[in-house]
Symmetry: C2
Subunit: 258 residues, 2 copies
């Protein structure tokens, strides 16, 4: 038996997110189906990040166990001839049998992309959120600075019964504007349900002048979802990468769910 | 009666190109349909560039005549509430009644986008051509320099009975690489059928080392389509803009088809 790690990229437009569910096709389901066919045994992947419907990924991580003799590094090539064009395996490698994609300390990087012009660009519509409201980037940067660090992000998350610890650390938020495209780049040790989208929605309200940048501190203090701005639409969000510190997966598992 | 000019952007993925044809839905057809509904009279647009199936546009130009009283600058807003999300009118304005979008001197700008990495990025697949062959950008730049200027581009076009003059002027070709994305930016006074795609296909063969940069001169001299490289796939191509020198459309029409 070996454990294989996949780096998975996908266009989330046509999927009901990562996790298997009854209402539509998911990325997890596609991977299980094609891996099982390829390796001729029932395969169930475990994903690092269960992205929502419509959210994209350039580097999600999935792990599975197999008895198959195919070398781990060949699996990416074989899978890419089988998968639909909107899912690609960027890399496949054997990992330690105790490596768990969610039960490890990780650094996740997300990008929220906003297209800010009078009218939308049809060629950007699937991978960015369009708004014609003029956004003040400097105010958004100031607001973002209050979010960096270790905070209780309860105000910036949608409640989930199984999550009791809402403290997370954001290492960095950078906001850049190139032509009409604003990118919010955010790096942290884990994100709560909808957290990046609520941060993006709140920063856009700051950019519009609805929320003052300094108010972010109070929104954090309130620990109340209603204090923050709206959840920004999924098409603007891309999971860029998940970094696993090298030592994590040669050491015993850390069983704290993040 | 007034003549109205539209700046039209579209994602060409789901269209059989610009021009009305029996086998599928085209951008021209969508514009005629929704303009006719909006203005309550039969409208037929004339497009500046009849892009092929799968080719995108950020700034194609269409013109039509109407008796409707709606101010020309309001038409963009009204049309964008009716059109599907993959077509947008970026601007609408009244122009001189002798303005013809094809029978004027113009500067057209196209961009051919190549995604050059080991595996494709699913979120780029609709708007770039993917190749895993490593491309030598410096060689491609040298090759492109032979194409700039006024030349007979017969070798770089697919034959069309109605086109007898195959001399065109390319003002500029710039090739840039940012991460894994190579962009060929090309500006000229008019392009023959498939010309940008054949240039892109040929430059990619130069980048791969199949054609030497200096051979471009001989390919031009041969005036034979078979001398050049393949026609690159349509999804990589975007019509960026069409510039009409101000004096053109206040002067009598120039009846030389380009």
């Amino acid at each position: 038996m070996k454990r294989v790690k996949l780096i998975v990229a996908y266009d989330g437009t046509n999927y009901c997110g990562w996790q298997i569910q009854p209402n539509g096709v998911t990325v997890e389901e596609m991977l299980n189906h094609h891996l099982s066919q390829l390796l001729q045994e029932p395969i169930k992947v475990i994903g690092a990040s269960r992205t929502d419907a419509g959210v994209h990924a350039l580097g999600n991580v999935a792990v599975f166990d197999t008895e198959a003799r195919m070398p781990a590094d060949k699996i990416s090539y074989a899978m890419n001839t089988r998968l639909p064009a909107d899912i690609r395996i960027l890399d496949s490698m054997e990992v330690a049998v105790n490596f768990h994609p969610r039960k490890s300390r990780t650094i996740k990087t997300y990008e929220y992309c906003i297209y800010n012009r009078r009218f939308p660009d049809p060629t950007k519509r699937l991978y960015s959120y369009f708004t014609y409201y003029s956004l003040d980037i400097e105010k958004m940067k100031t607001a973002a600075s209050y979010l960096v660090g270790t905070h209780d992000f309860k105000s910036f998350s949608t409640w989930k019964a199984e999550v009791t610890d809402t403290v997370r650390t954001i290492y960095e938020i950078t906001i850049t504007k190139e032509n009409d495209l604003i990118r919010i780049h955010i790096r942290g040790n884990g994100f709560l349900y909808h957290m990046v989208r609520i941060i993006a929605g709140t920063l856009m309200q700051v950019g519009q002048g609805i929320i003052r940048p300094e108010e972010i501190e109070k929104i954090l203090e309130k620990k109340d979802r209603n204090a923050a701005g709206p959840t920004a639409r999924p098409e603007g969000l891309t999971l860029v990468s998940i970094e696993y510190p090298q030592e994590e997966w040669t050491e015993p598992l850390i069983f704290q769910e993040k």
